[in-house]
């Protein structure tokens, strides 16, 4: 918890004014992210999981300087990066890159692959002419794409190739952090593995730090070193990947892990399902935001929001498992 991170967030809040948001009365403010602390260590792959509407994409956008956000601390390599996108120094923009879910939306349909991968160098004024093309080619090689695709257009590529082009375009700037928001959700299963393996290699070979946002817990468990679980704008549990999946402490994490479909029909498990659905972010419940759905809810849970605190004895190779739950923190045996 105390180690110096490459990217450090304290008390991040992101809000949306309700004008134009359906079903939320005008004048109210919705906090999609409401007090989040998060640290990315250099060279780490951190998974950010949670269900739709929990605020994970909003959090990622705030890191990019997008949206209406405020934070006590937002630091990258020790430097304050709270400024919005249009006021950030160009070099900072280069060092943190972003990969979105759908590569077709992210690519220009009328430009060749080579042009699009070279363009960031032009925008940042980092290389020109032959040098620029050479660096774009090198980036394409880094994502295992051959020279034959340089002259192609996005519609001529497969989904896996497109997403690798998007990643090459981010890599050409030699970033230190890659924020990937559902990077494989739009891809077929047989080619998701290309992108997942590539992300792992980029970390292993160049020490790239990756924030991997996904609703696919199986992939998160496979790829990430650490995971943070979000529920309704807050982090409810965080910790190293295997211990957390083996022994989730927060009742919500337990429900998420239990809901992962089995890899084999012989491993079907009849489980108690989480009841209810996430409330709308416009009117979060008081106290612990999970309490209306929680099987362990007590009086304190209805009024006192639990803080995200380390679990005593749950430290694994220096990485600490932490939970925001009054009941789990008291050390009572939890049903698994």
């Amino acid at each position: 918890m105390t180690e110096v991170g490459l990217l450090e967030l304290r008390g991040l809040r992101c809000r949306f004014a309700s004008r134009g948001i359906p079903l939320i009365a005008p004048g109210t403010t919705v906090h999609a992210v409401d007090g989040v602390d998060l640290t990315l260590a250099p060279g780490e792959i951190l998974g950010l999981v949670g269900e739709s509407g929990c605020g994970k994409s909003t959090l990622a956008k705030a890191l990019m300087g997008l949206g209406d956000y405020q934070a006590e601390t937002m630091r990258f390599a020790g430097q304050d990066i709270r400024a919005p996108l249009d006021r950030r120094p160009r070099d900072l923009l280069r060092r943190i890159q972003y990969v979105f879910q759908d590569p077709l939306d992210a690519l220009d349909p009328r430009r060749s692959v080579l042009y699009q991968v070279a363009e960031p160098l032009l925008i940042h004024g980092l290389a020109s002419g032959a040098e620029r093309e050479a660096r774009a080619r090198a980036a394409l090689r880094d994502v295992n794409l051959g020279a034959d695709i340089e002259v192609k257009f996005p519609h001529q590529l497969s989904g896996g190739q497109r997403q690798r082009v998007v990643i090459a375009r981010a890599l050409v700037l030699a970033p230190e952090v890659l924020i990937c928001d559902e990077p494989v959700s739009a891809l077929d299963v047989s080619i998701q593995a290309q992108v997942v393996n590539l992300l792992r290699d980029l970390r292993d070979r160049r020490g790239l730090t990756i924030l991997f946002i996904s609703h696919d817990l199986g992939l998160v468990r496979h790829l990430c070193d650490r995971v943070a679980v979000m529920y309704l704008g807050r982090i409810c549990e965080t910790g190293p990947i295997e211990p957390l999946f083996e022994r989730p402490r927060h009742p919500y994490t337990q429900a998420l892990v239990a809901a992962i479909p089995p890899p084999h029909p012989r491993l079907r498990k009849p489980l108690k399902r989480l009841i209810g659905e996430p409330p709308r972010p416009g009117s979060p419940p008081p106290g612990c935001r999970f309490h209306p759905r929680c099987p362990l809810c007590e009086a304190a849970c209805r009024t006192e929001p639990p803080a995200l605190l380390p679990i005593v004895g749950a430290q694994h190779d220096g990485a600490q498992q932490s939970v925001a739950c009054h009941v789990a923190r008291r050390g009572e045996a939890l049903p698994c």
Partner: protein, 328 residues
């Protein structure tokens, strides 16, 4: 006699670029009360196959072959006769409930409409009430849900309401096309439980179309794996997962996290529906292919459990041990 017996079904769509062959000869049976998982990637023909069975493939579709439902060939039936079956004996649920529901009518209105259309011939005692249907799909507080409009409900609640409408006619067969793909993982688990419970309670057959092997592993009795418009492997779900015979099914399983090492992507890309090369559609991506594979379409081999492959992987030895998968 199986409830549904599909024989050599083919579907192609007329397009400006020529005929797109979505389904290239499918044979498939479904028993009463059975839950069949149909797995395939985008473009494999899994949705087109069942849209054609229901007569919903559209004006540009050319459909040939047979699909016997309780003895009657659905492909041969008039539109009128088919529309009398749809909703009453055969129903379909789609991926995104929000685009299937009418946004300006209450759930109660739409549910009553489904009851009137599909259970209108039943006597009052036999006709289901909206409240009973909503209770069956696990929507708490039916009175409130009946007055609600789709935008006031969550994705999971809307999908439950859709399923309730599909149950109004007490169908023998429910076709669910990616019913949980747009939903969160905890809600997905609820909907899968629901489909299984309804199937068991009513003796209703379910076809669950999905790209997700885990979803199929969770509730299906039998699996059919589609690739390039054909079923390449089928059988009882445990047997197929224990020792997948077709290299494509093996590839799909190795492409997902299974507790053992690096993921194995399948090289190459899915075949184009405009492609009319002879032979096995998977051959260009297959490590086990021989010259024969690009000349002839492999015939179906086996009985209850069958595959279309000249070089099936029949040794269970290199299938992933269950203990490794159990770790996940």
């Amino acid at each position: 006699m199986p409830l549904l017996d599909i024989q050599d079904l083919r579907v192609s769509f007329d397009t400006a670029a020529g005929p797109a062959q979505a389904v290239r000869g499918v044979d498939l049976t479904l028993a009463r009360g059975e839950i069949l998982g149909v797995v395939g990637e985008s473009g494999s023909g899994k949705s087109a196959l069942f849209l054609a069975v229901l007569g919903l493939a559209g004006a540009r579709a050319r459909v040939s072959g047979q699909a016997f439902f309780d003895g009657a060939d659905l492909i041969d039936l008039s539109d009128r006769a088919l529309s009398r079956l749809r909703g009453r004996r055969l129903s379909m649920v789609f991926q995104d409930p929000a685009s299937s529901l009418n946004p300006v009518r209450s759930i109660g209105h739409q549910l009553k409409e489904a009851i009137r259309l599909n259970a209108g011939g039943l006597s009052h005692g036999e006709r289901p009430t909206p409240e009973a249907l909503l209770a069956e799909v696990g929507l708490s507080d039916p009175q409130r849900q009946l007055r609600a409009y789709p935008h006031e409900l969550s994705g999971g609640q809307n999908q439950r309401a859709m399923i309730a409408m599909m149950l109004a006619g007490n169908p023998d067969l429910l076709i669910a096309d990616e019913p949980t793909t747009a939903l969160d993982v905890t809600v997905q688990a609820q909907i899968l439980d629901l489909l299984q419970d309804i199937s068991r309670a009513r003796g209703m057959s379910v076809v669950l179309i999905s790209h997700d092997l885990g979803v199929v592993a969770q509730i299906c009795d039998r699996i059919a794996v589609m690739y390039g418009g054909m079923i390449v492997e089928s059988g009882p779900v445990e047997q197929v997962f224990d020792a997948p015979a077709h290299p494509y099914m093996r590839g799909l399983m190795a492409a997902r996290p299974n507790g053992a090492g690096r993921l194995q992507p399948i090289g190459g890309t899915v075949p184009s529906p405009f492609d009319s090369a002879p032979g096995c559609a998977f051959a260009p991506r297959c490590a086990r292919r021989s010259a024969r594979c690009s000349r002839e379409v492999p015939p179906a081999v086996g009985g209850q459990r069958w595959w279309r492959c000249f070089h099936p992987a029949l040794d269970a030895a290199d299938a992933k041990p269950l203990e490794e998968a159990a770790r996940l």
